[in-house]
């Protein structure tokens, strides 16, 4: 019996592990957003387990893509067909789902990026270089410090009547400035709104510096859930900002789409079913003593055999898997 061919995408980031299941028309059949909590291997296993249990009957996984900072790890664990960087994945997801989009503002757990789309392709991009002020983990931390759930953070900002000005250049200074404004007696709403404005200002002056931000503007990544930041973007840019339905898993969607494109070029998937995820994955790291660089090499093994290695500068240890993937998709 021929089942419905579906594509799996994984985005393993610093803060969250996201999984999506797409059909051939790129409709999202299933999605999971899980916290990484510093245990990517366990969380990927957990996510795969959840995906397996909730997958619609009769589906056949025809291809798998992995992205995010943990893409090598995830790719090796699930035998992904495509292992791609976050920028290409995010760009791809928007190109396929939001026709007319020309700018992507993406703010994730620990990095933020801007991606420009022109004529159906990614034409330029930038990532935050020096500082993680304004990314998800910083907001998380501030919400915790103020004692409000992160989910309510944005809504509170919208209630502000006269936002205070917060120094947003650096996370540490922003925090001390916030404390200072609290001591002065400013209202919580105004401080939060001020923080949103500072983060947006920082983003536009740093990541977005010199980039031509044209409509339609799409705002995605975990932070896009924050109404306050979205509104501040709209105020600063003087334009409407679109937050897509699946804003929190766009990277995973892009990875799944890339997997589909590769399979369509005539490759057969390397994915060997959900069973293999149950095997015991162990990661260990060691320092290579081949030269004075003493690279930290990470080795992932399952059932006693080495699945992949990465982290070496010279390529002596790394499996060629990731690189081959790249060459293939360009071919």
């Amino acid at each position: 019996m021929n089942g419905l061919e579906v594509y799996l995408g994984l985005d393993v980031g610093s803060v969250s592990v996201n999984l999506v299941l797409l059909d051939e028309k790129y409709n999202v059949l299933e999605k999971f957003y899980l916290r990484t909590q510093g245990r990517p291997i366990e969380v990927v296993k957990e996510g795969m387990e959840m995906m397996y249990r909730s997958m619609p009957a009769g589906c056949i996984i025809a291809g798998v893509g992995a992205t995010g900072s943990g893409r090598e790890l995830a790719g090796a664990m699930v035998d992904a067909d495509v292992v791609k960087n976050e920028i290409t994945a995010h760009g791809m997801a928007v190109l396929q789902s939001i026709p007319g989009a020309q700018t992507i503002l993406e703010i994730g757990g620990q990095d933020s990026k801007i991606i420009l789309l022109r004529n159906g392709v990614v034409s330029d991009f930038a990532m935050n270089t020096v500082c993680a002020a304004g990314t998800g983990s910083f907001l998380d931390r501030q919400a915790a410090r103020l004692g409000i759930p992160i989910q309510e953070f944005g809504a509170l900002a919208l209630k502000s009547t006269s936002p205070v000005r917060i120094a947003g250049r650096c996370a540490v200074f922003a925090e001390s400035d916030m404390i200072h404004k609290q001591q002065m007696g400013c209202s919580l709403e105004d401080i939060i709104k001020g923080l949103c404005e500072a983060l947006v200002r920082n983003y536009l002056n740093n990541v977005g510096k010199g980039k031509e931000i044209l409509p339609d503007i799409v705002f995605q990544g975990g932070v896009a859930a924050n109404e306050g930041i979205k509104r501040s973007f709209e105020d600063a840019l003087g334009q409407r900002v679109i937050v897509p339905e699946h804003y929190d898993v766009m990277g995973a969607i892009g990875a799944a789409i890339l997997a589909h494109k590769k399979i369509r070029q005539g490759y057969t998937t390397r994915f060997r079913g959900f069973d293999s995820i149950h095997s015991d994955f162990t990661a260990r790291s060691f320092s290579c003593s081949g030269c004075a660089n003493l690279c930290e090499v990470v080795e992932l093994s399952s059932a006693g055999s080495v699945k992949a290695r990465w982290g070496d500068r010279c390529g002596k240890w790394s499996s060629s898997a990731a690189r081959e993937n790249h060459a293939d998709i360009l071919a």
Partner: protein, 364 residues
């Protein structure tokens, strides 16, 4: 007297040949590594640029191997580099290292000072011998760059993955055994032959990427996280106009034809920058325009964190990129640069170029 010198890419090959020819004992610093950088970071002021930290690490590691005299070039201030020599000398002294630092910089009013210094590090060889040794060394410089050029072309086209890298690492390991320019030149010739014979996949049309920026960062692979090899593995042929050959021909030789060509190239920058503002900013802009006009697919600028001239260039490049329709990206490196983020950017940039060129990912 045992001489050592700072690393800058494969510059150690001609420099070693030079001192071998002069019959002077020379210690080649161990390849730049994390340890080199750690030593340098400890000794140098925190705000100093990355190359200086690596220089200092090179000296200390060489002194551990018996060097007592450090030779480096200086200049009358194209940028902070002009003061490296004197500052490094003081830093070594402050930290209790007893080394003789000989700075070769362009003579001002007293050419005799420079001549005396050259004479000194040459072990008092005759001027004829010195001239011949320098001439031979400049041949080595050119040959090494030609060899590297072959590798840049081969890497994206190689049939067997990693073969180009294997030839290169074998070369770098064995070249140090050569004694003198004669042997070195023969050895390079042999390896150029080997490199030329690396089998290619038929019909490969690699992307073409030009790399521009501060000279040291471009030339020293440790500092730029081996950008040439990384781009090669991602399927791109790398073009780099800033080479040691270029530097030698511009600053040390009397090759007037080359200098005229170089002036012509710099003139290409005139719509954007028409004078030297220090460092290699002018060259960076000129090279960017040149590569755009050549029709390369993309341009990457690499600079060490805090490099003033390159920061100016960085702000001009987007205008060139827009005018000429060529994608450009800037990468800043320092001792804190994480390799993962760097790789992500290179990968994404290569994806961007191939999408633009081949439209592999059509909207469906």
């Amino acid at each position: 007297m045992t001489i050592t010198f700072p690393h800058m890419g494969r510059m150690y090959i001609p420099v070693k040949a030079l001192f071998d020819d002069l019959g002077v004992k020379v210690v080649v610093p161990p390849p730049v590594s994390k340890e080199t950088l750690e030593i340098g970071t400890r000794l140098a002021p925190e705000m100093a640029c990355l190359p200086m930290k690596i220089n200092l690490g090179n000296y200390i590691q060489s002194m551990e191997k018996g060097a007592d005299t450090i030779v480096l070039t200086g200049s009358c201030g194209p940028c902070r580099f002009g003061y490296y020599g004197v500052v490094e000398k003081e830093i070594l002294k402050d930290n209790g290292y007893d080394a003789d630092v000989v700075i070769l910089d362009a003579p001002g009013r007293e050419p005799q000072v420079l001549l005396n210094r050259i004479r000194k590090i040459s072990g008092n060889s005759s001027w004829l011998k010195i001239a011949r040794a320098f001439l031979q060394a400049s041949k080595v410089v050119e040959q090494v760059d030609e060899f590297i050029d072959i590798l840049l072309k081969k890497r994206p086209r190689e049939l067997n993955k990693g073969e180009t890298d294997r030839v290169q690492s074998k070369f770098e390991k064995e070249v140090l055994i050569c004694k003198g320019s004669g042997e070195t030149l023969e050895f390079i010739e042999e390896y150029k032959e080997k490199a030329a014979q690396i089998p290619e996949r038929p019909g490969v049309q690699p992307l073409h990427i030009g790399i521009v920026g501060e000279i040291y960062t471009l030339i020293e692979p440790y500092v730029n996280l081996n950008i040439e090899n990384k781009l090669g593995h991602l399927g791109a042929e790398v073009h780099r106009g800033i080479t040691v050959t270029d530097w030698v021909k511009t600053h040390l030789s009397l090759d007037m034809i080359y200098k005229r060509e170089r002036k012509k190239k710099l003139k290409k920058a005139e719509n954007y920058l028409s004078l030297c503002i220090g460092g290699h900013a002018w060259e960076t802009i000129a090279e960017t325009v040149h590569y755009a006009d050549m029709g390369l697919d993309g341009i990457i600028q690499v600079l060490p964190f805090g490099c003033m001239p390159e920061i100016v260039a960085e702000s001009i490049i987007p205008t060139i990129s827009r005018d000429k329709g060529v994608p450009a990206m800037t990468l800043t490196v320092d001792e804190l640069t994480g390799e993962a983020g760097y790789m992500t950017r290179l990968e994404a940039f290569v994806d961007l170029l191939s999408q633009k060129k081949g439209r592999v990912y059509e909207r469906s």
